[in-house]
Symmetry: C2
Amino acid sequence: MRTNPLVRKLDAMVELADEDRADVEALCAQDVRQVEAKHDISPDGASPKNVHLVLQGWAAQYKILPNGSRQITALLIPGDFCNLHLAVLDKMDHGLVALTRCMVAHLDSEKLDQITTERTALTKGLWRMALADQAVLRQWIINAGRRTAVEAVAHILCEMHARMTAIGLTEDGTFDFPLTQEELADAIGMTAVHVNRTLQKLRGDGLVELTGRVLMILDIDGLRRKGEFEAGYLHLRSPMPAANMAA
Amino acid sequence: MRTNPLVRKLDAMVELADEDRADVEALCAQDVRQVEAKHDISPDGASPKNVHLVLQGWAAQYKILPNGSRQITALLIPGDFCNLHLAVLDKMDHGLVALTRCMVAHLDSEKLDQITTERTALTKGLWRMALADQAVLRQWIINAGRRTAVEAVAHILCEMHARMTAIGLTEDGTFDFPLTQEELADAIGMTAVHVNRTLQKLRGDGLVELTGRVLMILDIDGLRRKGEFEAGYLHLRSPMPAANMAA
DNA sequence: CGTCGTTTTGATCGCAGTCAAACGTCGTGG
DNA sequence: CCACGACGTTTGACTGCGATCAAAACGACG
């Protein structure tokens, strides 16, 4: 928590001036609110005034379908925007729910607008983030469309490990993983029952241990192989250390 | 073909000055190349110098998986960028293939870079396009993850109808739809055989007629209902006329 | 007229969904 | 301290959608 997670992400994307950093930090500190776990950050279809940014905790973008089932379309961790659209598009096209208790910054859209017209470096950084997010979404399409259950689960575990590492929230293969199996299922497009059985397989293979709300990755290389995971698409600078090279 | 399709898209997104339009048009006219159907526009992992833009024809972004199967992650029609990443990120994280013969503009990245620092309106427009694309990707996740075969096919047909209409390439419910069933399957994450049977259902219900490479939508409202399609997420100005209100 | 790519049909299989119940853990209140 | 309920995980039995394999029909094209 020493620095603002957004600053950290931007730093990993572009070269920033100290002044840029200060501006971002100020923008984020303006109006910070706490949201309890399982509560909506902003409901689908709403037109909130402000752009939201996760400072602490996990949240999710989701869509509820007419038949009642839910598809999670993004997992948000500190430094992630919830609804950058609003800076630029009209209204929400998805819901936003806090998965854990979250600290959410409400960014003043006028100030944000001002920044995106004045500060070139910052704008480029935000630009990059949006395009990097697209790459994540593409991987999720593949998860749901063409990967088996084991592959998809392994892949998403690797993704979150990489992203959590990038913002400094892992400790050698271990990190908070607050998703219920139900939520994990909604993210991949399967059922909680089957997620459960899939996790058992991964455990059985000695790849991971998931207890309480903490994920411990026992064999990162093995897990990446299972999930066909290659970190490149995340476009992170901090490079994902290769772990045990002797395999 | 009266106007540049990118200009048309931008026009639908933001207010442009005549000067902006001229600049874009010039940028696109610089270096136009033809690509034959089924040929790669640029292979996965490459680092092409230029950003590509489809001027004519259909193309697709795809990923080949280790087991050999393919997932298409985006369908590109005139006015769509193939790899806007390159303006801003390092290297391709997916392949690009022409589905029909295509005219592809190679944009000079320096000039593009120049524009995105000078012309505020254009930058905002491109910004919007990237975020709108995210919304499309989210729908594809839902297609693959939580929709039945019929729903997913209906949804993607509606999507392409809306997008083709937005650039003026439909004629009351009829438009070129050059995808093979194989390709359609790769886009939704199913098999060609099952796409075939699914299309038969849609035909049987009198919703569409797909012959040759032309799609005729017989009952747009019915199709939208089947696919749970709501055009809002595409963020198009041209509003998708409601068709037969008497339903 | 043969070839190649695509669409169509049929038969069988299996992964994951569905339904249902038991179990463990935790927080709350009696 | 225990009973209770809420929530999440786990297990079992059964089902079904869509995959897989294979072959035939169709159509465009050289």
